[in-house]
C-alpha cells in the first residue's frame, strides 16, 4: 500500500524519496487509526441504532488523521519544491480514500465481532440446553416410586420374623435393583438382555410383595436379545402395567411382555388387564408413562414412539426403539 501510494505520488511529479516518506507517514497514521477502531470495537459493539454514531466517529477519526498527516508532512517534506502545493491539492483525495478505508475496516470489524459474539452466545445456549436436558433425564430416571421402596421395606420387615432367609434374599435383590438405578447413565445404551435381567430383579421384588396375585409372561424373539435400548426404559413401563393391573382388578393378574424386531425398530409390547367399566383409560397412563414419553422425546426428538391402546379388558403399551443410533 505504501508502495502503491508512493508510485501515485511519483507520477504527480514528486521525487521517489519524498513520495516514499509521504506515503509512509500517512499510511502509518492511517494504520494506527484502523487499529484504534478495531480495538475499540472488540470490547464495545454498538447496538443496532447506533450506526450514525459509528459514521460520525469514522468521520472524526478521518479528520484527525488528515490534520495530523498534514502537519507531519509539512514539517518533514517542506524543503521539496512544490510539495506544499501538491499536498494542498491532494487533501480531498487523501480524505476520501482514508474515510473509505476506515469505513470498510469498521464495517468488517463490526461484522466479525458480532459474529464472534453470536457464536459465543450460541455455544452458551447449547451448553445450557445440554445441561438442562441431562438434568431432566437424570430426574426422570431418579423418579423411583417411594411407595415401592417403603412397601418393599415393609415386606422385608415381615419376612425377618417368619422367613429370615427370604428376607436376606430380598434385601439383596432390592440393593441390586437400587444400585442399577444409580450407576447407569441416561445416554447409556444396553442390550435388551441386560435390561431384562435388571427388570427381573424388579419383578422378583414385586412378586414377593404381591404374592400369587402377580404373574408375568415374557416372550422375547431370539433376534432381539442383542438389540439395544436406553438403560432403565422398560422398568417404569412395567411398573405402570403392574400398578394398573393389580389395582384395577381383583384376583390374579398376568403381565405380558413381548419383544420383536420390526424393520429398524425394536418393538416392545407390555400388556396388563384392566376393568373398562370402572377406569377411564386416561387414569392408567399416569405419571409413569408420561416420564417415559418425555424421556423418549429428549433422546430421539420424537413423540410417536410410545403408544397405548385399551381393547376389551387388556391395556397395551407399545414402545418402539429406533436402532442404529
Amino acid at each position: 500500500m505504501v508502495a502503491d501510494n508512493a508510485m501515485v505520488l511519483n507520477f504527480f511529479g514528486l521525487p521517489w524519496e519524498a513520495a516514499f516518506i509521504d506515503s509512509a507517514i500517512s499510511n502509518t497514521l492511517l494504520l494506527l487509526a484502523c487499529l484504534l477502531v478495531m480495538n475499540t470495537l472488540r470490547y464495545y459493539l454498538p447496538s443496532g441504532k447506533q450506526y450514525i454514531n459509528i459514521f460520525s466517529i469514522c468521520l472524526f477519526l478521518t479528520i484527525v488523521w488528515l490534520l495530523l498527516t498534514k502537519l507531519l508532512l509539512r514539517v518533514s517534506l517542506n524543503h521539496y519544491p512544490g510539495y506544499n502545493e501538491l499536498l494542498h491539492h491532494s487533501l480531498s483525495i487523501r480524505f476520501s480514500i482514508a474515510f473509505l478505508l476506515l469505513g470498510c475496516v469498521t464495517m468488517i470489524s463490526i461484522l466479525w465481532y458480532t459474529q464472534q459474539d453470536q457464536k459465543e452466545k450460541d455455544e452458551r445456549k447449547t451448553d445450557a440446553e445440554k445441561l438442562a436436558k441431562e438434568a431432566e433425564l437424570f430426574k426422570l430416571r431418579q423418579q423411583l416410586q417411594p411407595h415401592f421402596l417403603f412397601n418393599s421395606l415393609n415386606s422385608i420387615n415381615a419376612l425377618i420374623g417368619s422367613r429370615p432367609e427370604e428376607a436376606r434374599k430380598m434385601v439383596q435383590q432390592l440393593s441390586d435393583f437400587l444400585r442399577g438405578t444409580i450407576k447407569k447413565e441416561d445416554t447409556q445404551w444396553v442390550t435388551l438382555q441386560e435390561e431384562l435381567q435388571y427388570l427381573q430383579l424388579y419383578l422378583d421384588i414385586e412378586k414377593v410383595r404381591f404374592g400369587n396375585r402377580l404373574n408375568t409372561e415374557i416372550e422375547i424373539d431370539e433376534s432381539t436379545k442383542q438389540l439395544k435400548l436406553p438403560a432403565l426404559l422398560l422398568q417404569p413401563i412395567v411398573e405402570n402395567a403392574i400398578k394398573f393391573g393389580l389395582y384395577d382388578t381383583i384376583g390374579d393378574t398376568v403381565i405380558r411382555l413381548y419383544a420383536r424386531k420390526d424393520g429398524d425398530n425394536l418393538v416392545i409390547k407390555v400388556q396388563n388387564p384392566f376393568d373398562p367399566a370402572t377406569s377411564s383409560p386416561r387414569q392408567g397412563t399416569g405419571f409413569g408413562l408420561k416420564s417415559v414419553q418425555r424421556r423418549l422425546y429428549l433422546l430421539f426428538a420424537r413423540t410417536d414412539l410410545l403408544t397405548t391402546e385399551a381393547k376389551e379388558n387388556i391395556f397395551t403399551t407399545v414402545v418402539k426403539i429406533p436402532q442404529g443410533q
Partner: protein, 246 residues
C-alpha cells in the same frame, strides 16, 4: 375381648400386623382381607371394633370402602403414603402407621385406640371420611352400594345428581344410585368446571348437556343428551353460563 380385622392387599403387610398383634391378647383377629370388597363383607359379618386398613388397594381404596359402611369401626391406617397425604386425616383416624413400622410404634397406636375406645369413634370416622372424599384424587369416581353389590361410577358417566331427602340420587345411563351424602358435599368434592349446581336440588354434568331452553317465566331447563330435562333456576342459569363461557 375386642374384634380386629386387617385389610391390606399385600400378604406380607398383613402378616406383620398379625405378628405384632400377638403381643395384644385382648385383641382377637377375626379375618384378614386382601381387598375392599372382602373387607366390607368381613366387617358386616364380624362387626369388628377396630380395623387396620391400607389405603391403596385393588378396585376401591380404603377410604371408598369406609364410605360404604353405615357405622364404620375405629380405623388405624397402615400405609406407605407419604406423610403429607396422610396428615389431613390425622385428626380423625385413631392413628396411622407409616410402612414400615415397628412393634413399638404399633403398640403406641393400640394404646391410643384403647384410650379413645371409651369415647365415641363413630363421629371421628365420619369426619375422616368427609375430609378424605374432599381430596382431589377422590373426585374422579363415586363408589356406591347397590343392594349387595358395589358399583364404581366414573364421574364422567354421571349425568346429574338429584337431592332426595337424606340421600342424593346419582343418575347415570343405567339408572340412578343412592348415596348417603348431601348436595353440598358433592358440590364441593366434584370438579366445578364439570359439575354445576343448576338448581337447589340438582347438580348437572355440563358435558351431558346438549342445549338449554327457557322454561316458564324466570327459569330454564337443561336438555341432556339422553333427553332428560334438568331444572335450571335463575342463579343456576348464571353459573351454567359462566362455566360454558356464554
Amino acid at each position: 375381648m375386642s374384634k380386629v380385622i386387617i385389610i391390606d392387599d399385600e400378604p406380607l403387610a398383613r402378616s406383620i400386623v398379625t405378628e405384632y398383634l400377638q403381643k395384644h391378647p385382648q385383641l382377637e383377629l377375626m379375618q384378614e382381607c386382601g381387598d375392599g370388597f372382602e373387607g366390607l363383607k368381613a366387617i358386616q359379618q364380624h362387626q369388628p371394633d377396630l380395623i387396620f386398613l391400607d389405603i391403596q388397594m385393588p378396585k376401591i381404596t380404603g377410604f371408598e370402602m369406609l364410605e360404604l359402611i353405615e357405622q364404620p369401626p375405629a380405623v388405624i391406617f397402615t400405609t406407605a403414603f407419604d406423610e403429607f397425604a396422610i396428615k389431613a386425616f390425622e385428626a380423625h383416624a385413631v392413628d396411622y402407621l407409616l410402612k414400615p413400622f415397628d412393634q413399638q410404634r404399633f403398640d403406641k397406636a393400640i394404646a391410643k385406640w384403647s384410650e379413645q375406645n371409651s369415647g365415641s369413634t363413630d363421629k371421628a370416622t365420619r369426619d375422616l371420611l368427609e375430609s378424605a372424599s374432599l381430596s382431589p384424587s377422590q373426585s374422579q369416581r363415586i363408589v356406591v352400594k347397590n343392594g349387595s353389590k358395589i358399583k364404581i361410577i366414573p364421574v364422567h358417566d354421571v349425568q346429574y345428581l338429584e337431592a332426595a331427602d337424606d340421600y342424593v340420587k346419582i343418575h347415570t345411563q343405567e339408572g340412578y344410585f343412592l348415596k348417603n351424602k348431601t348436595m353440598a358435599h358433592f358440590e364441593q368434592s366434584l370438579d366445578g368446571q364439570q359439575f354445576v349446581r343448576s338448581h337447589r336440588s340438582y347438580i348437572v354434568n355440563v358435558q351431558h348437556i346438549t342445549r338449554i331452553d327457557p322454561y316458564e317465566k324466570d327459569n330454564h331447563v337443561a336438555i341432556l343428551r339422553s333427553g332428560t330435562k334438568v331444572p335450571v333456576s335463575r342463579s343456576g342459569y348464571g353459573k351454567l353460563k359462566d362455566v360454558l363461557g356464554l
